[in-house]
Symmetry: C2
Subunit: 204 residues, 2 copies
């Protein structure tokens, strides 16, 4: 089934909108739109409005650049969190991933990307100045670089360390090692080498 002709312009435009999303082809888009057509009007109105409101009303926290409904996000405005500890992450998904571990009680700093020459993203495109400013202003004990262990992540770590290492704040990175469930046989040699070098006393 191809879609050379739609019986309705409204249908065609809705299908086109869905098909513009990443990973959604025209057939899937059509299926999604047909699903919406079967729902009642109020439900579809709510769907459409939630998209419009999201883009129209969403804010980015003035302190950490995390997505937020308020000028300062719930994490940055939480009095119980350790404000001397900053975890630097690439994006909002990473904030959510770390929050879900419930192991971190400091604040975040969302870079809004990662240095990637191939995609034309350099340091100037990221929120690095405001991070340096925070450290300069003092009161920051430790900055954790929590970036992906990819080429881009390593490049960004290197750049950040060169730029922030001159301050008295300590700069740390996430531990490298075996993931839970990893089999030694199938672990790459760099990870395995790091896991040997960074070995820990056995804990019962």
């Amino acid at each position: 089934m191809s879609f050379s002709e739609f019986p309705s312009k409204l249908l065609e435009s809705a299908v086109n909108e869905f098909a513009s999303l990443p990973g959604i082809g025209r057939k899937t888009a059509f299926r999604l739109v047909m699903n919406l057509l079967r729902r009642n009007k109020d439900e579809v109105l709510k769907f459409g409005e939630s998209i419009i409101r999201l883009r129209g009303e969403i804010l980015y926290c003035k302190v950490c650049n995390n997505i937020s409904d308020t000028e300062i996000c719930t994490i940055c405005s939480d009095e119980r969190r350790d404000k001397s500890l900053i975890c630097v992450v690439e994006n909002i998904q990473d904030v959510m991933a770390i929050e879900n571990t419930r192991q971190f009680n400091g604040l975040y700093h969302v870079l809004g990307g990662i240095i990637s020459p191939i995609d034309g993203i350099g340091p100037a495109d990221l929120k690095i100045d405001s991070l340096e400013e925070k450290i300069k202003n003092g009161g920051i004990r430790e900055v954790i670089l929590a970036l992906s262990t990819t080429m881009e992540g390593d490049t960004t770590n290197f750049y950040l360390y060169r730029r922030l290492g001159k301050y008295s704040t300590s700069i740390t990175t996430l531990a490298r090692g075996l993931a839970i469930g990893d089999e030694l046989e199938y672990t790459d040699e760099i990870t395995l080498g790091r896991a040997i070098n960074n070995r820990n006393p056995y804990q019962q």
Copy 2:
């Protein structure tokens, strides 16, 4: 990454809306929403409005039940089409599939479903009365039953034939046989049997 906590209610509600679509899980929904967040406001407004307008303004053709922007769809109101020939289909997708073949010049009648006792869909749930009405009113030379070759399609064909066979209109079904590219070896015996029985003179 699970999504126990969202940093924003707006984000959470948009993700929930997308995740309510068939075949879209929460991770995919999140990815789609993040894509929308990166677009400019007007684009996202257009997206949301296209969904709302679709459900709010779409019409179903009074003659054939096909989806339409007007009370009578473009096919039914096309003077060049043969109004004595009606092709009965399950849904709008099937109208589009047949239109794309450019082999049919009659009108359609969209049943809006197919008889399926398992899904609790009986003849009363389909637009069969209005189809019978059209035939009763006369002027219909042929009704083509263009339903899927499934159990449900066969049941519906059987029911329609029992109900409409008493009128002078001829009732036909789509030809059964080998599809283009089918290998004999892998064709099921029923299809192959029908293809032998319905064999045609060789055409050069």
